[in-house]
Symmetry: C2
Subunit: 312 residues, 2 copies
């Protein structure tokens, strides 16, 4: 199975209102609710691709119970979430019905105790032997040490399980230094990590910091990938219009599934780009338009810039 880690899971709530006007009262016309957090979105896409997936991370409180109830009905996803005392956070997306514009309100997440953090590390170690790959996804809840992902990267490497890291800020900086197999920053995260806004330069710099492969997401323009085997750029055939939330999670799912299926890098990148575009066409994170994906995957352009990158 593929293991995805979401330390700061969320109950993702979407409200439709005619138009959000600050300091007034709104009747919400439509409410939807689903299990959220990057690793849970990745898991749903992997399951839809036919992979066995196990999700872990923290879950707690009434919101956590609601999340787990809903997760139980997602086929192909095994729940190995670890209980905490604090409640799982909510995220609220308020969509203006007329324009589709979204206002986001994100709770911080439960305060995790050091005993709870140790309990998670034990659970993670127990899950790794059965995993063909692991993805570490998203922000850290309060109380979890900033070096948490670095620790989880080292544990995966000790267990010889390929590990992908998708986070930002200081947890990314420390996590990269622990030498994950793959990091997948977007351009903002990459610039924050390296200080460079030039994607080629920044990707190279991110790799120098320790990641074996860096796949930089350029949003609608596709992906840049750099590792010891080459330096590629993968571009979708045309830009797509829709909801970009979860597009990055689909990139992670594409890369991980390609890894465990033993695809060559150009095929992994084509899959990741096509899944990402197909998820922009789906209304919610963690889903994708399957027929669009099957069409797009044959029309992604992958350019190889450099066959052999210097080893360092």
């Amino acid at each position: 199975m593929i293991l995805t880690v979401t330390l700061n899971t969320a109950l993702d709530i979407t409200y439709h209102v005619p138009s959000l006007r600050p300091h007034t009262s709104h009747r919400v016309t439509e409410v939807t609710e689903r299990p959220g957090g990057k690793g849970l979105n990745v898991a749903r896409v992997l399951a839809a691709l036919g992979h066995e997936v196990t999700v872990t991370g923290f879950v707690g409180g009434a919101t956590g119970r609601a999340l787990q109830d809903q997760l139980a009905s997602v086929p192909g996803v095994m729940d190995a979430l670890v209980p905490v005392t604090g409640p799982t956070r909510r995220t609220i997306a308020v969509v203006d019905t007329a324009t589709g514009d979204t206002t986001q309100l994100n709770e911080p997440g439960p305060l995790v105790s050091s005993a709870e953090w140790r309990a998670f590390q034990d659970a993670y170690e127990d899950l790794l032997p059965a995993a063909s790959a692991v993805a570490l996804c998203g922000s850290l809840p309060p109380g979890v040490p900033v070096g948490a992902y670095a620790q989880l990267v080292r544990t995966a490497r000790s267990a010889s399980v390929p590990v992908l890291l998708d986070t930002s800020g200081e947890p990314l900086r420390r996590g990269v230094a622990a030498r994950p197999d793959l990091v997948k920053p977007n351009t903002d995260e990459l610039a924050e990590l390296t200080g460079s806004h030039e994607p080629f330069q920044a990707t190279r710099d991110a790799r120098r910091r320790g990641a074996h492969t860096v796949v930089a997401s350029l949003g609608p323009e596709g992906l840049l990938a750099l590792n010891a085997e080459g330096h590629w750029r993968a571009t979708p055939p045309a830009p797509v219009e829709g909801n970009p939330t979860g597009a990055g999670d689909s990139v992670v799912a594409g890369l991980l599934s390609g890894l465990v299926e033993g695809l060559a890098w150009p095929e992994r990148l084509s899959r990741a780009v096509a899944l990402s575009a197909a998820s922009v066409l789906a209304p919610v994170a963690g889903e994708f338009d399957r027929s669009a994906y099957e069409e797009l995957v044959n029309h992604v352009t992958v350019d190889l810039f450099q066959r052999q990158v210097e080893t360092w």
Copy 2:
């Protein structure tokens, strides 16, 4: 005991954000959560005044479980809520930390089936014999017939239990016609009911529609009350600044507690006005500033305009 009915209970969530800006993303800095809905606020104030209170209405889903867990820790309030399949609604108050301005997002509430509505009516009938008074509070969830309050008023009257109705729109219009002992509209609700924006005229008209006593809330200017015994105006000593949410619920608690304690009308009105002002001084609905209340209650002015109102 005093019975309060809240058909559309709510989990009231308050978010603090630095400043709400539509179509951007916000990290919520503070989250609070409490049992909500007008009847639950009324119950908390009554319990704080030393009364035994039972709350009923509908409750369901994960949000309902959270509401009941929190209600269990409120001393003096007995939970007699009736389960439904649909989830209890959330209300979200987004407070701008800098200015205190609030943006409100209200979910519609669970869809109640006709079997669930019948189950509620049975539970209500079973509770009435032990009740010294009953308050029917707030909006109706989807699926509950618009004449629901009229029915509940008639049932209370058949059981000889004094009944107060605090709602708006068509449920108020129909409920008034069933001749409740008391209605407590605010000026907007009164104008909607009667077509008149002149409070004296509108109060008189509301009484003519069937309520034995009409207590109109004029916000910071106090109360107008009209029944067969007289026509009063109760005015607080000075306007207070604060959070007006829940001020109307404190009026209801003041009136009900005065009723079951057998206070004369001027004392009931003084209590209601003082509680209302003291609840504006408290940060959340269902609470009040006790020392402010004890000070204010001796300084409310009650003017009697007319000793004997025509019977009709």
